[in-house]
C-alpha cells in the first residue's frame, strides 16, 4: 500500500537542495523558514516513518539563524548554506546524542565533532537531527536498530534499506533534501535504491572517517544521499577532501563532482564505454529488477554510450570475503564498548568483577546481529584460523580489485542493479542472516576494492510476490578509484533521460498532509 508520505505538499520541503539554496540566496525564503518547514514535516510524519533517532530542533534553528545573519550581513554563502540535512547516527556530533543505533551508547553526548560534522557546519548546512540505522551499521534493512525499525515511505510495511535506512527514508519522504550515510558493503547505495533516491559511496579515502563510529575500518566510507544527482554532488563536494586526522585520507584534491553532474545533465554520453557486469545479474535477482536494469542500459545506449558485457570472475567471492573481513574488523573495533569510559554499564552491584560487568554490559548493550558478527570475527582472527579466513579473504580482495582493474581497461564505468531486490517487508528476512546478507551482492565488490559507486533511481518494479505495489529500483554505476566524477556524470545523464521519473515533481501549494 502507498503511504502518502511521498506526495508533494507544495511546501518548501518539496524543493531539492539546489533549489533551497537558491531560494535562500535570492531572499525568497530564509534558512529559518526552510528549517522550520522541514521540522514541521518531521513532526507531522515521523511518527509513522520513524527515520529520526534524535531531532535537534533547537540546534537546527540556531544554525539556520546564523546563516540568515551572515546572509543579511552580506557575507558570501556556500552553495548549500541553509539547506537542511539528516545525519546518520554513526557520525559523531559534538553536543548532540550519538548512538550508532545501539543501546550500548544510549545517552552518550560526544565531546567532539567528526570531520564531516565540522565541514557541514562550516558550509552552513543545517543538521536537523540524527537518523536511525542498523546497529553499528550492520544490516541492510534498519531492522537491526536497537530502538525501532524505520519504514519505507513508498510502502510503510516495507524496509527503507540499510544500514543508512533512516537517512534514505528521510530524504525520500521530504523530511530533508539531503542526508549523510555510510557505506561499508552497500549501506548508502542499497537504501538509496529501495527508496528511489540517489546515494554515492565515494572512493575509499575521499571522505574523512575521523568521527565515524567504526564498523569495518578498511571498508567504511561516508557519502551523500539526495533526491537528485546534482544535490548529491553538492553535498559530496562539501564533505570530501584531505583530512590530516585520518591516516587513510587521500592527500590530493578529489575530482569536481558538481561540474561532472552538470556536464552529465546535458545527457550526452557519446564515446563513453559502459561495461555490464555479467556476474551481477541473472539467477537470484527479481525479474522486475532485471527488467528495469535492462531498460536502463538501453537508455544509456540511447545517450550514445558504447555498451559491452564484461566478466569479473571473482565477484562471486565478494560476499564470502566481506563477511569475513567486516566481522573481523568489527570484533576489534567494538571492543572499546566496555563500560569503562562511556556508554552503558550493567550489573555493577559492587560484588561483580570488571570482567563480569563488561560481559553483562555487552550482552545487554549489543543486539543479536552485532553479537553474531563479533563472534564470527573473533573466530576468523583466532590463531590457527587467521590464514584460512581473514588472510584468504584479503587475497580475495586483491583478486576483486584486479577484476576491476582489468574491466576498466575496456570500459570507463561498470553498471549493475544496485540490489537484487526491491524493498522487502519488515520482518521478512530477520530470521535468516544469510538471506539478509545477499542484499549486498551487487554493492560489495566496490566496497572491497575501495572504488566509487553511485545508485541512481532507474524505475519501479513489483516484487513478484503478487503485491502490485511498484517499488524503486536502483542503477549502480561504478568507476575506478578517484574517478567519482564519472559516477556523477553518468548518473546525471541517466537521470536527465530516464523515461519513468521515480519522484513526483513538486506541485502547487496545498495543505500539508
Amino acid at each position: 500500500m502507498t503511504s502518502g508520505l511521498r506526495e508533494a505538499t507544495g511546501a518548501l520541503t518539496d524543493l531539492d537542495a539546489a533549489a533551497v539554496a537558491a531560494a535562500i540566496a535570492d531572499g525568497q525564503a530564509s534558512a529559518v523558514e526552510v528549517t522550520q518547514a522541514h521540522l514541521d514535516r518531521i513532526a507531522a510524519i515521523d511518527g509513522q516513518l520513524r527515520a529520526f533517532l534524535h531531532v535537534d530542533a533547537e540546534g537546527a534553528l540556531a544554525a539556520a539563524a546564523a546563516v540568515d545573519e551572515r546572509h543579511r550581513a552580506g557575507e558570501p554563502l556556500g552553495p548549500l548554506a541553509g539547506v537542511p540535512l539528516a545525519m546518520k547516527d554513526v557520525v559523531v556530533t559534538e553536543g548532540v546524542p550519538t548512538t550508532a543505533g545501539s543501546k550500548i551508547l544510549q545517552g552518550w553526548v560526544p565531546p567532539y565533532d567528526a570531520t564531516i560534522s565540522a565541514r557541514i557546519k562550516a558550509a552552513g548546512v543545517v543538521m536537523l537531527g540524527k537518523t536511525n540505522m542498523d546497529e553499528f551499521a550492520m544490516g541492510s534493512s534498519t531492522e537491526n536498530s536497537a530502538y525501532f525499525a524505520t519504514r519505507n515511505p513508498w510502502d510503510l510495511d516495507r524496509i527503507p534499506g540499510g544500514s543508512s535506512g533512516g537517512s534514505s527514508a528521510a530524504v525520500a519522504a521530504f523530511e530533508a533534501p539531503l542526508a549523510i550515510g555510510t557505506d561499508t558493503g552497500g549501506s548508502i547505495r542499497q537504501p538509496a535504491a529501495v527508496t528511489g533516491i540517489v546515494g554515492h559511496k565515494p572512493t575509499y579515502g575521499a571522505v574523512s572517517r575521523y568521527g565515524l563510529i567504526a564498523f569495518s575500518s578498511s571498508l567504511d566510507q561516508a557519502g551523500p544521499l539526495g533526491r537528485t544527482v546534482l544535490d548529491t554532488a553538492l553535498l559530496h563536494q562539501v564533505i570530501a577532501g584531505h583530512d590530516p586526522l585520518d591516516s587513510t585520507s587521500i592527500p590530493q584534491p578529489g575530482p569536481d563532482v558538481v561540474a561532472a553532474a552538470r556536464e552529465g545533465a546535458r545527457a550526452d554520453l557519446r564515446g563513453l564505454r559502459v561495461g555490464v557486469v555479467r556476474e551481477l545479474g541473472g539467477e537470484g535477482y527479481q525479474s522486475g529488477v532485471l527488467a528495469a536494469f535492462d531498460a536502463a542500459v538501453e537508455v544509456l545506449r540511447g545517450l550514445g554510450a558504447d555498451v559491452i558485457e564484461v566478466s569479473c570472475p571473482h565477484f562471486e567471492y565478494a560476499l564470502a570475503a566481506y563477511y569475513l573481513i567486516a566481522p573481523s574488523e568489527c570484533s576489534s573495533n567494538l571492543a572499546r564498548f566496555d563500560a569503562v569510559r562511556y556508554g552503558l554499564r550493567v550489573g555493577d552491584d559492587g560484588t561483580r568483577s570488571l570482567e563480569e560487568v563488561m560481559s553483562a554490559t555487552r550482552k545487554a548493550g549489543f543486539g543479536a546481529e552485532v553479537k553474531r558478527r563479533i563472534m564470527i570475527g573473533t573466530y576468523a582472527l583466532s590463531s590457527g584460523y587467521y590464514e584460512a579466513y581473514y588472510g584468504q579473504a584479503q587475497k580475495v580482495r586483491t583478486l576483486i580489485a584486479g577484476d576491476f582493474t582489468s574491466a576498466f581497461t575496456r570500459c570507463d564505468v561498470l553498471v549493475s542493479p544496485t540490489s537484487p531486490f526491491v524493498a522487502f517487508r519488515v520482518g521478512e528476512r530477520v530470521a535468516d542472516p544469510m538471506a539478509m546478507y545477499v542484499n549486498d551482492l551487487c554493492t560489495l565488490p566496490a566496497s572491497l576494492a575501495g572504488t566509487p559507486a553511485i545508485s541512481v533511481p532507474c524505475g519501479l518494479a513489483a516484487d513478484g510476490s503478487g503485491d502490485p505495489t511498484r517499488l524503486p529500483v536502483g542503477l549502480q554505476v561504478m568507476a575506478p578509484a578517484l574517478a567519482d566524477d564519472r559516477c556523477y556524470r553518468v548518473a546525471a545523464a541517466f537521470e536527465a533521460a530516464r523515461p519513468e521519473p521515480t519522484l513526483p515533481e513538486p506541485t502547487l501549494p496545498e495543505a500539508a498532509r
Binding site: 557520525v91 559523531v92 550519538t98 550508532a100 551508547l105 552518550w108 560526544p110 565531546p111 567532539y112 567528526a114 572517517r209 575521523y210 568521527g211 565515524l212 563510529i213 567504526a214 569495518s216 575500518s217 578498511s218 590530516p244 586526522l245 585520518d246 591516516s247 587513510t248 573481523s328 574488523e329 570484533s331 576489534s332 571492543a335 572499546r336 564498548f337 566496555d338 569503562v340 569510559r341 562511556y342 570488571l354 570482567e355 563488561m358 573473533t378 582472527l381 583466532s382 590463531s383 587467521y386 581473514y390
Partner: protein, 495 residues
Amino acid sequence: MSAYDELLTRYQPVIGLETHVELGTASKMFCGCSTEFGAPPNTHTCPVCLGLPGALPVANADAIESTIRIGLALNCTIASWCRFARKNYFYPDMPKNFQTSQYDEPLCVDGYLDVEVNGALRRIGIERVHLEEDTGKNTHVGGATGRIHGADYSLVDFNRAGIPLVEIVTRPVPGLGAEAPAVARAYVAELRDILRTLGVSDVRMEQGSLRCDVNTSLAPVGATQWGTRTETKNVNSLRSVERAVRSEMLRQATLLDAGTRIVQETRHFSEATGDTRPGRSKEEATDYRYFPEPDLVPMAPDPAWVEALRVALPELPAARRARVRTELDLSPEDLLAVSNAGVTDLVLATVDAGAPAGEARNWWLGYLAQQANGRDVEAADLGVEPAQVARLIALVADGTLSAALARQAVDGVLETGADMDTVVAERGLAVVSDSGTLTEAADKAIAGNPDVAEKVRGGKLPAVGVLVGAVMKATRGQADAATVRQILLERLGAG
C-alpha cells in the same frame, strides 16, 4: 660452596630480556596529547587516546625516527616496509581494548649488542625492536596495600595511554653460566646508556620509562634442549635485574632438584624480598587475534633517509669507551677505577675540553666524587660540567688557583650554579702572586715571630713552616705556599 655456585655444577641458565622504553617525544604516539610526566589525572587525554567512538590514530613521525635510530644503534636491519598490528585483549587501562603494536613486521630486526662483563665481551642477539603504545595506569583501592588482588575496585588514569613505547627483545642467551645475572644487568645498563646517548628517552627506571621483563630457564648441564622459561615482570632497577635472574635460577634449581616441572608462567619481582612470585594464572590461554591495523597505513622508510640517520648517530658508549682506552693516557688500573666509578664519560669529556687525562681522573675520582657522594647523586648529576672542570684544571696549571682555591671554586659552583670563571672572579679566588704584597706579609710574619725567625737564620730551615702558615693565614690562603717559603727564606738570608 654457596647454593648458587652449587646449582651451576648441575644446571645451565638461558636468559632473555624484553625491555620497554617510553620515548621522550613531546606528544603521544597517535595523537597530539602531551607526554609530560606527573600531570593531574586524565588531563592529557583526547578522543584518540581515550578510544572514543570514531577517533582515529595518526603516527608520530619522531617516534618512528627514534625507533629506527635505536634499531641502527643496536646493529639491526631496518624494515623496508612494515605495518602496525592490533593486539586484541581486554584490560581496563587499554582504551580501545586492543594495543596498537607490531607483530610479524617489526621496524627493526636481527641486531646485537656487545656488553662487557669482568673484562670479557658478551654478544647479546637482538631479535627485534618495535614500536607500540603504552597503556593507562590503574590504582587499586581497598584490600591489602593497594595491590590488585583483594582490591575493592580500581581507578584508571589515561594520561600515560598512548605514549610511544619501544620494545626491544633479545634472542635467548645461553652459555653464560654463573655470569648470567651480571650479563643481564650489564645488558640493561648498556642499553640504557645507548638510549641516553641517542637522546630518545629519559630512561628513568624509577619512573617507569625503562621497564624490564626477564626470561630465565635452566637445563641440566650437557642437555641439548633448553628448559621451560618463566617471565619475570616488574623488574625496575639494574640491581633488580641481577637479583631477579639469580633468585629465579635458585628457585628453579630447587624445583628441578625435587623433580618438579617448571611451569611456563609470568612472575612478579618483589623489590622488598628480592624474589619472584607467580602472577595470577589465567583460566585460559590468551589469543591476541593480531591483524594489520586498518586505520594506519604501512611504513616504508626510505633507505636513503635510514642511511642518513645511521651516519648521524652520535658516538655510542662502546665506541666512546674504546676511544677512552686509546685516547686517555691512563694506566689500566686508573681506567678500571674510572670505569667502576661510572665517570668515564665525564673524564673523557673533560679531556675533550682540553684537560690532561691524569688531572681529569684525579678530579672526578677525588674531590668531585666526594661531593657527589655527600649529596647522594651521580657525578654526572652533580651540577659541574666537564668543560668547567677542564677550565678549573687550566686555572691550577697556570698558577691562578692553588689546589685549595680550586676546591673552593668547585664549592662556589655547586652553591651558586654559576660558571667557574664567574665564581673565581666574584669570590676573588686567585693566588696572590704580587711579590710586594707577599714581601710585606713575610716581613710582618718575621717581625711577629722573632724567635722562629732566629731559628731559621740559625739554619733550622724546617722552622720556616710556622712563618709560611702565618703568611698563608694573612693572605687567606690565596698565596702559593712554595712561593711564600722562597720569599721568607730570602728575607731571612737563609735561601
